[in-house]
């Protein structure tokens, strides 16, 4: 166990990187998911098609392949490393790839939440002269949000775990850092145990927060 304390700064830095990528992917993924969900429900057909293609592509291929493609594949045909800098581009690719992947799943969660709101709510809003946009914003989304919380939290937890797939594209998050430490100290048992525990704590905090949020929102009914 001593090795862990000696290598703690390195592990901690990896952990912080995991948290950072998780936060970015969750925030960006949610924004992308909201936009894609609204596009999927739009009247304008090309918007629906575009969104459907996006969701199907990212759900239909492994995240690891997507990350390799964006981080290593694209720079082979585009001067991305020059534009972003060779140090920065892999980080950008990791964050964007992760966010796009999570966004595809979040799209479906948000879409299902919106469709789950009773049609009568749309009609009532229309009957007082609200436009589609106003109805979506003031009536439908606030109600849809409550029913989205459980599946969204599930997806956020998944996102935290998915950041471990950034290790193969050489981003020094928690798994990558652990591998480096182990390659020097051969402390695989204790190291992976600690890594698992760290993921667990983060995800546990997320699910507890969600349970709290759900209880809070229950106060004003439905």
């Amino acid at each position: 166990m001593n090795h862990i304390w000696e290598q703690w700064p390195q592990i901690w830095a990896g952990f912080l990187s995991t948290v950072e990528f998780s936060v970015i992917a969750i925030l960006l993924g949610t924004v992308i998911g909201l936009i894609a969900a609204l596009m999927k429900l739009a009247r304008f057909a090309p918007a629906r098609w575009l969104s459907t293609v996006y969701v199907e592509l990212f759900r239909g291929t492994p995240l690891l392949v997507q990350l390799f493609f964006i981080a290593l594949g694209l720079p082979a045909v585009l001067p991305l490393n020059k534009w972003f800098g060779p140090q920065t581009y892999p980080l950008v690719a990791g964050a964007v790839g992760l966010a796009l992947n999570e966004g595809a799943y979040i799209t479906e969660i948000i879409r299902a939440g919106i469709l789950g709101v009773d049609r009568g709510q749309w009609e009532a809003a229309a009957s007082i002269g609200m436009s589609r946009g106003q109805t979506m914003r003031h009536i439908i989304l606030p109600q849809a949000f409550k029913r989205m919380i459980p599946p969204l939290v599930n997806q956020f937890a998944q996102t935290v775990k998915d950041t471990s797939l950034l290790a193969p594209i050489a981003i020094t998050e928690l798994v990558y850092s652990a591998q480096e430490v182990i390659s020097v100290y051969f402390n695989a048992f204790s190291m992976w145990l600690v890594v698992a525990l760290m993921y667990f704590v983060v995800i546990f905090l997320i699910t507890r927060f969600a349970a709290y949020l759900e209880r809070r929102l229950q106060i004003d009914k439905r």
């Binding site: 709510q121 009609e123 009957s127 002269g129 436009s131 003031h138």
Partner: protein, 240 residues
């Protein structure tokens, strides 16, 4: 106020309205009755564009609703609607349910919207429920809030789609009372209902619909006591 000419409405291959023509005057209270599936609710929903008509012409308050260039959203501000299942906004308080239209659609200030809302809540007898959520109210109370929500837009016509059908019997009276008050104040109303007592008492005219057409219409006392059409007689004998 409302004129409907040769209105047809189909859902896929099912033709629900097969040529409805009628005219509703300002301040008139028209009650629409008929068996279920007769098209009476669909007819009502066509009047504020919740259903798009297949063919025919509807003019409401001088605006031709069936003209594709007409802004239906704008027109709906002047046509209030009350639904069978209330359809209050579950995430908003009673007060916010009533003020959201004036604030977001009419762009009135919060103060003005709220003073309007409190006046209406007073009228429907629910001032003390302003800060409750819809799901904390009884069905009758919810429906009265729904009426207040529609009235907050100061509509020139009110449409009622079976407003008491989802209520427990003891709550029907309180909702009908609000509607009667409204009729006496001179509101133009089109009411789809099974409440024959209401039709007799406040209806200026009754439309009997069956099979997607208006079979018979007339003053309540004439239509109820002396129906001319066989179908009207058969329907009334079953429900009266």
């Amino acid at each position: 106020m409302i004129s409907v000419e040769n209105l047809h409405k189909s859902f896929g291959r099912l033709e629900v309205l097969k040529g409805v023509t009628t005219h509703i005057d300002p301040q008139e209270v028209v009650v629409v009755i008929g068996p279920s599936g007769s098209g009476k609710s669909t007819f009502l929903r066509c009047l504020n564009g919740l259903e798009t008509v297949t063919s025919g012409r509807i003019v409401v308050d001088g605006v031709e609703l069936t003209d594709p260039k007409v802004n239906i959203t704008k027109l709906r501000q002047r046509v209030g609607m009350v639904f069978q299942r209330f359809n209050l906004f579950h995430h908003l308080t009673v007060l916010d349910n009533i003020t959201i239209g004036p604030r977001k659609v009419l762009k009135l200030s919060r103060e003005e919207s709220e003073s309007r809302a409190f006046t209406l809540l007073e009228k429907v007898g629910l001032r003390d429920k302003a800060n409750s959520y819809p799901d904390e109210l009884s069905g009758g109370q919810q429906q009265r809030v729904a009426i207040a929500r529609a009235l907050a837009m100061k509509p020139s016509v009110m449409l009622f789609d079976e407003p008491t059908s989802a209520l427990d019997p003891e709550m029907v009276g309180e909702v009908l009372q609000v509607m009667k008050d409204l009729a006496r104040e001179g509101m133009t109303m089109v009411v789809v209902t099974h409440e024959m007592g209401f039709a007799r008492e406040v209806g200026d005219r009754v439309l009997f619909m069956d099979g997607g057409v208006i079979v018979e219409e007339g003053k309540p006392q004439d239509l109820f006591s002396n129906p001319k059409e066989e179908r009207t007689q058969a329907f009334l004998s079953k429900i009266l």
